[in-house]
Subunit: 280 residues, 2 copies
Amino acid sequence: MDLWVEERNQDTHAVRFRVERVLFRGESEFQTVEIVETAAHGRMLLNDGLIMLTERDEFVYHEMIAHVPLLAHPGPRRVLVIGGGDGGTVRECLKHRDVEHVRLVEIDGLVVDACREHILRTAACLDDPRVQVTIADGVAFVAETAERYDVVLVDSTDPIGPAQPLFGREFYGNVRRVLTDQGIVVSQCENPWYEGPAQRALLDILGEVFPVVSLYNYYNLTYPGGMWSFSFASKGPRPDGELNPPRVEALGELQWWTPAIQRAAFALPAFQRRALGLET
Amino acid sequence: MDLWVEERNQDTHAVRFRVERVLFRGESEFQTVEIVETAAHGRMLLNDGLIMLTERDEFVYHEMIAHVPLLAHPGPRRVLVIGGGDGGTVRECLKHRDVEHVRLVEIDGLVVDACREHILRTAACLDDPRVQVTIADGVAFVAETAERYDVVLVDSTDPIGPAQPLFGREFYGNVRRVLTDQGIVVSQCENPWYEGPAQRALLDILGEVFPVVSLYNYYNLTYPGGMWSFSFASKGPRPDGELNPPRVEALGELQWWTPAIQRAAFALPAFQRRALGLET
């Protein structure tokens, strides 16, 4: 059997991966969750048929969502991850020795359960004593919690379905409320090739809420188009400051992030800068 | 009819684009040359079924192969392009006012003819009076010519078939011979995700021939895996020097390249640095 999984992008472009076998398929109240063993890209998680991660390249996304803000912050101790039920983002946060507590708020318990069963590379860390997993709506959580965090990471799916409110003004007002004085929020911010207006809309919202707003890119192997972005917003810290060498050293051997990558990620291509209303 | 063109990578990964119609199909002594009109990515050139360019994203490759070395060189006047029969690389070279002469040496006249007929966005520049088009084997050309060039751009296909000698030691010895004192050669250098050993092999060869050797990345929308590399080698100029503002200004509005991108492109991910034997 010639078995392939395909993700279409706007019905004009697609990526495909050869699949050895289907490991898991389940329906939650939010989405279909599937995990397959690919021929050359390790295990792959799909939500509603969209590729969330593969074991082959998940380190790009997870290192870049976590290390950029955690190293930009002067001393992060408490991190809130919204979404990210696979655990990869939490795993990278735990590499920071000063981090004492990571709370994962994932809306769909089925994602967490499926990854705990089939993708230990990302989910094994969820048993770490510094981690608390909460199955709840992240939008409601930030609206209601009395807890405070130094860094919030919005590790969301695309702004359709359950993730839509995560791209809104009200949500980021609440994120500001839960952030400490030097707090930083980094969010999954779509693809500059196909989603320029969505990127600009999110930056505009962040600009109403935070004094420091920026955007940086990374390059997944398995997302359509490869190039993808994170937004960066903070109450003060900038992403281009000096890095603390002992804190970098403590991270150990990484696969993607380097100090040079931290700076380079904020160098946006000319067409993207124009689409965002920035000078080239 | 649901018409798609697909490029497979190692038979485990593929990219696909919806096609409206086939504009050209021809066989040369070297390869099959095809041009299709895609639904959302403009016209696409394929050699032996491999995607060479689309109108939607060709600027990434062409700006990055040309502007990085031409701006690193103190005053490039003569440029030799080997391969690149579509004309996109030549077009970018001509944006540099000091460039007086660009010679394109393309082995396959059918590529040039097909692009002159169907992809004017890249090929129209080939009628510029500063351009000379030579249909010949680039390997033989650099072995035999008495001409000298400030910059050589190896705009080749993958190291299989006619392009294979373009990845060899003898070829680069001849490139050194045709380069002037401050000469630079930049070459298409494959994909770090799938072709790490090929990248290291080419850098090793360049290191035997040139005192300055480096590698930089760019991010095509339409190549499998997105991230791709160029090698940079020179008789002296480094890629990280100060840029000349009037020369940058003279380039006009670009789509990808910026001064920050010039620096950022040399920040390689940790896994790629290790594969190349560089310190992380």
